[in-house]
Structures are given as C-alpha cells and as structure tokens.
C-alpha cells in the first residue's frame, strides 16, 4: 500500500537537494561555464536521486536480486558515468554518442538479467520476442535521446528536461498503478531531481546545455518503463506513449511557433507533452479501479495466465479483443444489475459484434474459396453453415452466384 506522505517527503527533499547540489557544485564568483553547470547537474541529479531512494527505502541490496536493484546499482550509475565522460573536454561527440548508444542497448538486457524473459519461461514470451522488444526499445531510446539533444541545441530551453521530468513522473505513477509500486516509485525522485537541477542550472548559466540532464532523464525513463512493461502490467501501447511523449517538444518547431516568446514555447512544449501523459494516466487509473473492484476471474485463472499476459506484445485491449469468443461468453455470464451499463458489458457487446463481423467475413471468404476450388456446392454450404446473420448473407450471395 503506498504512503502518499512518504512519497511527498521524498519528492520535496529530492527537489530541494537537487537544487542545492547544483548550486553548490556549479557556483563560481564569475559566471559558470556551460560545461561546469552540466557536470554539476549530472552530479546533483545522481546525489539527489540517491537521497530520494534512501527516503523511500529503495536503496538496493548487493548483489542485486531484482530489476529495481539492477536499475539503481548498475543502470543509473552507468548513465551518470557516461554523461560525465561525455561532458569531459577531450572526449569527441561521436565517442560520447557511441557510449550512449552502448548504454541504451545494454540497459534493457541488464534490467531483464536472470528473469524468465531471457530463459524462455515467461508466459507468452519467447526469447526471440524478448530480444526483439529489447532491440526496439534500444532504438527508440537512442532515437528519442538523439532527437531531444538535437532539439536542445537547436532551440534550447529548460522546458526539455522539464518535459522529460514530467514524463518520468507520469511514468512513475503509471507503473505504480500498473502493479509495480516500488518500480514506479523509483521514477519519482528522478523526476524531482531532474526538474530541480534543471531549474537551478538556469540560475548559474543563461543558456545551459542540459545534455547531462537529458541523458539521465532518458535512461531513467528507459528503466521505469521497462520495469513497468516487463515486471508490472503496463501495456505496450501505453509504454510506447510514455516513451515517445517527450518528442512532442518538437511540436514547437512548427512554423506557428516561430518568433514566439521563449516562455510561450516552453509552456507549449510542456502542454504538448502533457496530453498523452494525461491520457495514459486516465487509462491506467481506469484499469486499476476495475481490477481493484473486480474479483479474480476464476475461469481465466484455471485456463492459464491472464489474457493481458498471454499476448503481451499487443497490450491489454487487443488481448481482450483477440479472445473475443471466450470473453463474450465470460462477459455474458457476468452479472450486471438492471439498468447498469458496465464497461465490461460494453466490451462484451463490442467483442460480440466483432465476433459476428469476423464470422461473416470468414464465411464470405470461405464461400469464395469453395466456389473457386470445389464444384460441389453442398460442401461449401456445410462450411459456412455454423455462422450467424452475416454468414446467411454470405450464403445468399453464394446462391445468387450459383
């Protein structure tokens, strides 16, 4: 059970600490250089996040035994190290991006280490599917990272790290509500540290680069979303929406935003990014309320894993649709009080209609195939017979063609 007071304490303490650490590490009598502010931000985000994890009692055990331990012990420190190396003067940009690419590629594998996804025993996942998912996640992560860094150079502004922070915060809440409380909670201090460090950096330098903050934010986002997708019940579609949401910052590069004031561009970026985040949060909250009030489906549990797990790559909604004959049967048995229209019954209606439509389409296809391949009409009739109204229409069409 989550403790909102504890979460609030952790977020506030992390935010304050992040700002103090940036100011302490980056302050000089003269104006601080962009590189110095960048390094100060990286260190501040790392230290403040660690403080937040300590308050939330998320500090890991050694050796790491679960995904959260690996995220905190291996992935986040690796991101800090990579960003510190990238911020060093003699390191050329291609080398820095090579390191970032390696981190993006390795993060997923490290997080899933030792899990049933990699030994092929995870329900509904083959090892090949897992590797494909990890490869896609790495490409998306690197693409998002690159595009946001490019945007930060092309049209700099504190709104970019703030947009990543708000995505990390929303992702954290989504993962918490999707069944993995501590995994999601790991995103909260990160979001607080990111935003406070980015804002504090603006006090030190008029045009900070935010490269380190963007890097840490993206890696944090990878970690939180992979935890939610693979170890919680966050569906693939929502995971992708969360991950791609910061890219909406690019929306302010449209001609209509040209020559607008920086504050308007920044606010627009945050508002654009907030739209998919709000939609995702509404959807996960709706699912959470439904799952919390609904008893476990005895039939489904006896038959095997939950449908959302059986087809993880498709997400919960499509998994429901794919199991439509079973779902409609189960849903038709669900007791609905008179006059009450539940979402479940709506789904039942939808799946029922879909089933009828599918049957009709199948019958039409079969009758066409039969006409083409068989000269015996009775055989074709037998094949289309079990279907419902649309299949009768198909039969009519078949007779007319005869």
């Amino acid at each position: 059970m989550p403790d909102p007071v504890l979460f609030a304490q952790a977020v506030v303490a992390t935010a304050v600490a992040g700002a103090i650490f940036v100011l302490a590490a980056g302050w000089t009598r003269k104006s601080a250089s962009a590189r110095r502010v960048n390094v100060a931000s990286i260190l501040a985000i790392g230290l403040a996040t660690a403080l937040g994890y300590d308050i939330l009692k998320l500090l890991p055990r050694w050796p790491p035994v679960n995904v959260l331990d690996r995220f905190v012990i291996l992935v986040l420190p690796a991101a800090i190290l990579v960003e510190l190396v990238a911020a060093a003067r003699p390191v050329p940009r291609p080398i820095a991006w090579l390191l970032r690419a390696a981190l993006a590629a390795a993060a997923g594998r490290v997080l899933l280490h030792g899990s049933s996804y990699l030994d092929g025993t995870a329900t509904g996942w083959t090892v090949q599917q897992t590797w494909t998912a990890l490869a896609v996640a790495a490409v998306i992560a690197l693409g998002t990272w690159g595009l946001l860094s490019w945007l930060a150079r092309r049209s700099p502004g504190v709104s970019i790290p703030l947009a990543i922070a708000q995505t990390a915060g929303a992702g954290a809440l989504a993962v918490m509500v999707s069944g993995y409380l501590n995994g999601g909670a790991a995103g909260l201090p990160l979001a607080a540290a990111l935003s406070s460090a980015a804002l504090a950096a603006c006090l030190l330098d008029k045009h900070p680069t935010f490269e380190g903050a963007i890097g840490l934010g993206i890696v944090g986002l990878i970690g939180v979303i992979i935890m939610g997708r693979f170890f919680g019940e966050l569906p693939t579609g929502r995971s992708l929406a969360l991950f791609l949401a910061p890219l909406l910052c690019w929306g302010t590069e449209l001609p209509m935003f040209k020559n607008r004031k920086p504050w308007l561009i920044g606010t627009s970026r945050l508002a654009l990014v907030a739209v998919p985040l709000i939609v995702v949060l509404i959807l996960v909250e709706r699912d959470f309320s439904k799952a919390s009030s609904a008893p476990a489906d005895a039939d489904a549990s006896a038959a095997g894993p939950p449908r959302s797990q059986a087809l993880p790559a498709l997400g919960t909604r499509w998994a429901r649709g794919s199991a439509s004959p079973v779902a409609s049967r189960l849903d038709s048995r669900a007791s609905v009080a008179p006059g009450q229209s539940t979402e479940r019954s709506h789904i039942a209606g939808w799946t029922g209609r879909w089933t009828v439509h599918w049957c009709g389409m199948r019958a039409q296809r079969m009758s066409r195939q039969s006409l083409a391949s068989s000269s015996f009409p009775g055989r074709a009739w037998k094949r289309v017979r079990p279907t419902t109204q649309p299949s009768m229409a198909a039969f009519g069409s078949y007779c007319r063609r005869l």
Binding site: K57, G179, S292, P295, S301
Partner: protein
C-alpha cells in the same frame, strides 16, 4: 554321515551373503501429487486488523514413502508464483510484481526434503525451502498417510500440514512495514497417486 568340507561352507555362505545384499529391499512407493485434490493456501494479515486468504493455483510435486525405512522417504513440491490468487485481480497483479513474489524473476517456490522422520500420525520433514531466490531450511510435520484405492487399482495417500513462513527471511520486505503481516501461515494439503 559325510562331513561337508569347510571350504564349501565358507564359499556358499559368502555367496548367500552377496545374494542377500543384492536382493531388492522393500522399495519405496512413489507418488505424484494429484493437483485436483490438493491445495496450497495461505493467509496474510492486513494492517493487523484482518486476514486476506489466498492460494496458488498451479503447483506440482512428487513424494516417495518408504514405510520400512521412513528416513528414505522424500517430498518435493514446486509452486508457480504467478498462479497466486487472492480473489482480487488488482491485488494479484501486485503480488506477482517484484514488490512481492517477483514472478518474472523467481518463477517458482520449491521445497525439497533433506530428511524425513516418522512421528505419530505422520512424518517430520526437514528440507530446503526456496522462495524469492533464497533458500532456507524449514521443518514441519506432515499428518496423514492413510492409504485408499480410488478408483480401483489407483492407490492414493495424502498428507496435510500447517506452517508459518516469515517473508522477510526470504528478502520479501515491505517498504511500508506493518501493512502486511511478515509471518504468513501456509496450509498445504496434498494427495498423491501412486506411479
């Protein structure tokens, strides 16, 4: 009366001794757990005010009973962690997450006996209990052992036990202490069908 040579006596004696040692001892009966007539259930205290009951729907196991030499008996069981069922889908989703069972990382809970001792009405079983990736020795008393034949030709026997598992011993620690009881009473009852 002719006397039997001593050499012959020794030779035959040795041969008989070897034969006796090689003869099969009363073999143990091997059983496979019949999941249709078994249950693994537990209850966890919520905030110290009520108990939430749950069960595992998927498990398997084998055991062998050697009545002549109970020390040679053995028990083993494997429970699939993602089959936890507390009657609430939202809670079950949370229970299989890394906050509790971490079913994707530790997909099974296993028990394998290391020693078995006959006691009144059953057996005292010691063994290694592995949960959440950590193995600890536990001891419990299995009561039962009555044999029946149902249906005809299918020999069955069954046992039951109640034990307490301390979650924190296995690294299953709550971030909010007191929300869920640390000590979880577990009730296991199983029936085996002779192989």
């Amino acid at each position: 009366m002719r006397r039997i040579p001593a050499v012959l006596v020794v030779t035959w004696g040795a041969l008989l001794a070897v034969a006796a040692s090689a003869a099969p001892a009363a073999a143990a009966d091997n059983y496979a757990i019949d999941t249709a007539h078994s249950s693994v259930s537990f209850k966890a205290e919520h905030m110290g005010i009520s108990w939430i009951h749950g069960r595992f729907n998927s498990y398997s196991g084998n055991f062998s009973i050697d009545k002549a030499d109970p020390g040679k008996s053995s028990f083993e069981m494997t429970i699939k962690t993602d089959s936890v069922d507390t009657g609430n889908k939202g809670r079950d989703t949370h229970l299989v997450s890394p906050d509790y069972f971490d079913a994707k990382q530790f997909s099974t809970i296993t028990f394998k006996s290391t020693s078995v001792k006959a006691v009144a009405h059953g057996y005292e079983v010691k063994g290694d209990f592995t949960m959440h990736g950590q193995t600890k020795p536990i001891t419990f008393t299995l009561l039962g052992g009555k044999e029946v034949e149902f249906p005809k030709g299918m020999k069955r026997t069954g046992f039951s036990t109640d034990l307490k598992i301390k979650r924190s011993d296995y690294g299953m620690v709550d971030k909010m202490p007191g929300a869920l009881g640390d000590e979880v009473p577990v009730s296991i009852s199983f029936e085996g069908v002779r192989k």
